[in-house]
Point group: C4
Chain length 246, copies 4
């Protein structure tokens, strides 16, 4: 009983909005309460771990809980020769919902904290080592999302994907945006979690490059994909999505 | 083997008392130990995550572990046309137990820290953006509690509901009271977690509004409710409650 | 295939030693690294949550992972009329092992940090509100340990008992010793986690009083104990212990 | 369907690289953001808990997720008389992959933070009480990894091993390197997580001594090993590895 695309896209929109509201909102809260930047990032990262795990649990059965164009594209790419995985119509609807949801989430967070609803960030994040951070962060995320499916552990997605982001906030220099929709959304908040619009394009490019690296690592570690029929479904949510004949 | 209402209401009383003792007590402890408000909120939120998860695990099988009039009312509303869900007699007993338990929890926390047993809070929390925070926090909580049941994931309630609160402490401007009984109870402690009595009514109104938003989002995302007989039971605790013919 | 008492007692000794080493060691580490007492307690409490969960997982199948005379006595009391639960010979061996293990743990922690192997604590913890904290902390622990068994959720013991202690560190004024063996052991370290010998007897008395309160709450919430044969086994470890005919 | 040794060794290389990147990278991030050393260690330890749990989940089914020569050797030693466990050819390939992976991880972390790709650490860590810390940390890790298998709880490996490291960061004076490959790798970063090359040999010797202590404790607690055929497989990953006839 797969939900219709309209409803699945709504799931991606609501989920991405909530994810961005958590990231941006907790960043504002933290900077209002302390001057210690490590403590700000600790609060920001723990709130994201908690929130992301909840969102994947709740919405995974509905839409797959991608909340991320890089994951949606990787799921399409690795599933494109079989009956599994999203088709291009799904991809278009998902990506549009993710971007619209992300921006809505920024607006909601700004509103909750009495900030202007949308204001372009002045937080410059342009540097080669930050782009490398995004490549690494997104490669890891995509490898993990696809790898959980390959090892039959999709049900651990909420816990493991959230934990991954919790680590990636800290071990990557860029604090792991790892998500083009969220990156665009965060350019509309001039706060702790913001990113200046000029810094967005290379971040997004790095993220897509990272997704490709993740797909490559998946094949290097776990071998060629089995025949489409036998293949496990993409984790972090392809759950219901892939069971459908669209 | 559902417990009689008297015993289930006792579960709600003890559980809400313990929840409030955790929230208020850890707030007092934190403010005694540091001046960094972010660190205070971090300790307060992590203690609540740990404590709430424990309480839902222990008391969910007994009473459903609502600890929250907004959740109890939402469970009644969504289950009112079927045999599932609490009836109005349950609702009355639960809400009374939650409020009495909450106030008892404040008194216990104050006693443990050598404070006056009850003293009205002077912590003003009146502002439009805080009320929006409460609407969002409660909408998310109700959507989650009902959504776990709709997706057959009630057993994850302790982990997921506790995680949600851990995120909501940070991403909402109001630090997510999201609970009318707990809000009333917190007005009796003049400490970190307190709320001035004059700030209580709009908080509670925002919470009930948020609960309605949560019920609406549930239908928008997961569709109309199935026929009563087939319906999954409300999470975060309707477990035993709904299996009974009272 | 229950282990012989000798080996189960060794499990209690090693487990209690490790638990105390975690509590005392992380306390020393934290005070060496920061002057912020809330941060010290945060590190101390999180290390204990992680360590206790690990120890219950590893040693629960062997000894029941009590590590605590109050829990052992409560298990004996509630199981004394049936074939389940420890008998008095078990209790004597367990308590002796717990106290000996606890003191060994303090010595190990002191050695790891280059401190004198044993030095009586000067940390006075004598006050009525602290004793109330111990009553509450131990009542909650015993209610939880026995309640998990009553609700058939023993397998969640490692996660839930560890989480409980994580909350209790913060919401009780005494930071939740809640364990007579650990209390005695902590009197031998003059550090963050220490307790002056003169403060030990009222703490231990409060803990046993709390255990009685926990047993009372268990009956009030979950009703009379079912007949011995049908009864679920005590959580946090009675697992193998109670299956045996000693 | 066990993977060929080449691919399993690649899993160890990638996993150890990622683990070291997390440890070193989060250490650099933390020191860039705050001067409070306890907060630095808190961020460092939580990032490691999250990252290690993820890596064991993803790569356990492939290689066993040792990422650690001490664990690989202990698995070989305890399994050497049966058909289970790695043989010496596996051990050689694993250890080489772990060391190469570890150093790669340091280089990657340095690159992500715009540091020189490799620079010898000046962080002296030579003292008897630190060596005792390493003995204790590694004994506990090996006891845990082998003990989970002996008690049939291998599936809990990701959660429990990661939690153990989270505790060991704090309760051991050495912050628990507990891993010869990671120790060598960390000598190539002059940052928070670094270790001066002169301090490496006694750390590694202490770790192997600790592994022996862990194997001894395993036998003392859980008794002689059952006959090879009946034996449970080593946790933290022997999963697929031991099922194979190489």
């Amino acid at each position: 009983m797969t939900a219709p695309l309209r409803r699945r896209a709504l799931g991606e929109l609501v989920g991405t909005a909530a994810l961005v509201a958590v990231v941006v909102g907790s960043g504002i809260q933290a900077t209002e309460l302390t001057d210690d930047v490590a403590l700000q990032l600790l609060a920001n990262s723990l709130a994201t771990v908690f929130g992301l795990g909840v969102l994947i649990t709740l919405l995974g059965p509905l839409s797959g809980a991608h909340f991320n164009p890089a994951v949606t594209l990787a799921a399409w790419w690795t599933g494109r020769r079989g009956e599994d995985g999203p088709d291009l119509r799904d991809v278009a609807a998902y990506v549009a919902a993710q971007v619209a949801g992300g921006v809505s989430g920024t607006i909601l967070a700004n509103a909750m904290f009495g900030e202007p609803l949308a204001r372009l960030s002045t937080h410059d994040r342009s540097a080669g080592h930050l782009w490398l951070g995004e490549v690494v962060a997104t490669a890891g995320l995509v490898l993990l999302a696809l790898g959980l499916a390959r090892t039959g552990q999709q049900r651990l997605g909420p816990l493991v994907v959230a934990s991954y982001i919790g680590a990636a906030y800290w071990f990557t220099s860029s604090t792991s945006f790892a998500n083009p929709a969220v990156t665009i959304a965060r350019s509309f908040s001039d706060s702790f979690a913001g990113i200046a619009p000029a810094s967005v394009p290379p971040f997004v490019a790095s993220q897509f490059l990272g997704a490709a690296v993740g797909v490559f690592l998946l094949a290097a570690l776990f071998g060629r994909l089995p025949a489409p029929k036998d293949r496990a479904r993409v984790s972090t949510g392809e759950h219901e999505l892939t069971a459908t004949g669209r």
